[in-house]
Amino acid sequence: MISFALIGAAAVAAAIGVVTARHPVHSVLWLIVHLCSLAVLYMTLHAPFLGLVQVLLYAGAVMVLFLFVLGLLSARTRPDPAEPEPLTGQLGWTIGAGVVIAAVLLLAAGAGAAGANPHALPAGFGGVSAFGQALFGPYLLPFEATALALLTAIVGVVALSTGHDEAMRRPPTEPEAEPEGPALDVSHAAMDPRRGVGGGRD
């Protein structure tokens, strides 16, 4: 219980860090800390498999993509501490909304805790086989529907990103035929001071 409270506090602190950090990359780092503390919370709640998958997928894969994009976009920009807040009054609204959500969650948790018995977990709860049987048993249809939705999203992204850009249509498999290979091109972009890092070929 004490460890749960400590890690919960760490998760909340990291979440506050996400919204208060001025540099986007620092926000991503706080988010990674937050996701890792959530994983530990799952483990203290007898769901070790979910905790590990949380680290493996969210912290280990999804956030790498975030870091990738933000690291490239903000490679040269340093936030100016004297710069005024672009969204005026957001702090008050955020705190207000946070208090309301916390109150609702506390009420819900209180209502749930009244009826539940935390010591009556079935054997093997949260383990790999229990998790797999739930996922491929009662929740098979929602699980497959999610997979289909994600597949649709991937196809959509591919269609959108290749539709209108001639440069993207060139087959990347024949670099020998081109005077400039892709690797060479990237280093040229990096050498050019006007473009900056990751300027690409556009």
Partner: protein, 333 residues
């Protein structure tokens, strides 16, 4: 002693860290010697007899060097990145069992820090965090070479993690467990896992070279194009942390390869279990790392990504289907 008290775990952790560090130091010497012999030269011979004190000299040099930091660098992230890389590398080894627990005069010595039932998943989850040290180190340096190197490294590591996962899953399906000791026990009952799962083993070996960013997949630090990649701006002990993490990751992956595919601590031809078998297999696996490094030229970056996504991942899926058919059709049982 039940092997679970906090103090005992701490003592074993310290011993493991010391062991890993000294293994790193002498593996470095071995690598330089072996590469030397491959290239018809001597390797390090000057410091100590047969060059054996070379790691001490290197350590002193690293500790005494100036801890330089670029002016534009992001201070905190620049300092955290090497520590994070090394921490993740050491933490992943914590659940690797080196052998069955030893009984020394009624004193139980388990040969891993922890033995969770999902130990394999723990290794993969922790190892997947290793990419942050590299990408953050490159980003925080605020230098073009470092940023490009770290982007290459993280794209490569994330891509090859998928094929590596496929190979690992095939071994898991075959053994029917996520616990490393149980997977080894399954192999001692039947045959070593690489016999039905040879494709999985080959994919695992290739991916382990790519995951540790070693030649011929060391595009992240291709010195001809990127100076030294993500650690260009690092010096002294922070630089050493990156190198140490790379080698400790090699140890972890070689131990994992031996445990998953090569029968773990079981001897060949039905010989009994021993820690030494596992260490021998790890040593052979590490020698293979060096052999690959001196034999193959560095491959081009676009070829590397294509090879990962268009060759290894599909073969990994097909192999997984074959192993599933093997297991459903009776398999080892």
């Amino acid at each position: 002693m039940n092997g679970m008290s906090l103090g005992y775990v701490l003592v074993r952790s310290v011993i493991l860290i010391v062991l890993l560090m000294s293994a790193f130091a002498y593996f470095m010497v071995m690598e330089r010697k072996v590469i030397g012999y491959f290239q018809l030269r001597w390797g390090p011979v000057r410091v100590g007899p047969w060059g054996l004190l070379q790691p001490l000299a290197d350590a002193l040099k690293m500790l005494a060097k100036e801890d330089a930091q670029p002016l534009a660098a992001d201070g905190l992230v620049f300092h955290v990145a090497p520590a994070l890389t090394l921490f993740v590398a050491l933490a992943a080894f914590a659940v690797i069992p080196l052998g069955p627990a030893l009984h020394i005069g009624g004193f139980l010595l388990p040969l891993s820090i922890a033995n969770p039932s999902t130990g394999l998943l723990f290794v993969l989850a922790v190892a997947s965090l290793g990419v942050y040290g590299i990408s953050l180190g490159g980003w925080a340096s605020q230098s073009k070479y470092a940023l490009l190197g770290s982007l290459r490294a993280s794209a490569q590591m994330v891509s090859y993690e998928l094929a590596l996962g496929m190979a690992v899953i095939s071994a898991v399906v075959l053994g029917g467990s996520l616990s490393l000791p149980r997977l080894v026990a399954q192999q001692s009952l039947h045959t070593w896992a690489f016999i039905p799962d040879i494709l999985g083993f080959v994919i695992f070996v290739i991916c382990s070279v790519a995951e540790t960013n070693r030649a011929p997949f060391d595009l992240a630090e291709a010195e001809g194009e990127l100076v030294a990649g993500f650690h260009t701006e690092y010096s002294g002990f922070r630089f050493a942390s990156f190198v140490m993490a790379e080698y400790i990751n090699m140890f972890t992956l070689s131990a994992l390869g031996a445990l998953l595919f090569l029968g773990g601590w079981n001897g060949p031809f039905g010989l009994g279990p021993s820690v030494w078998w596992l260490l021998t297999k790890m040593a052979l696996y590490l020698f293979l790392f060096i052999w690959i490094r001196v034999t193959f030229p560095r491959i081009r970056y676009d070829r590397l990504m294509q090879f990962g996504w268009k060759v290894l991942v599909p073969i990994g899926f097909l192999n997984l289907i074959w192993i599933s058919v093997f297991v459903v059709g009776g398999g080892w049982r």
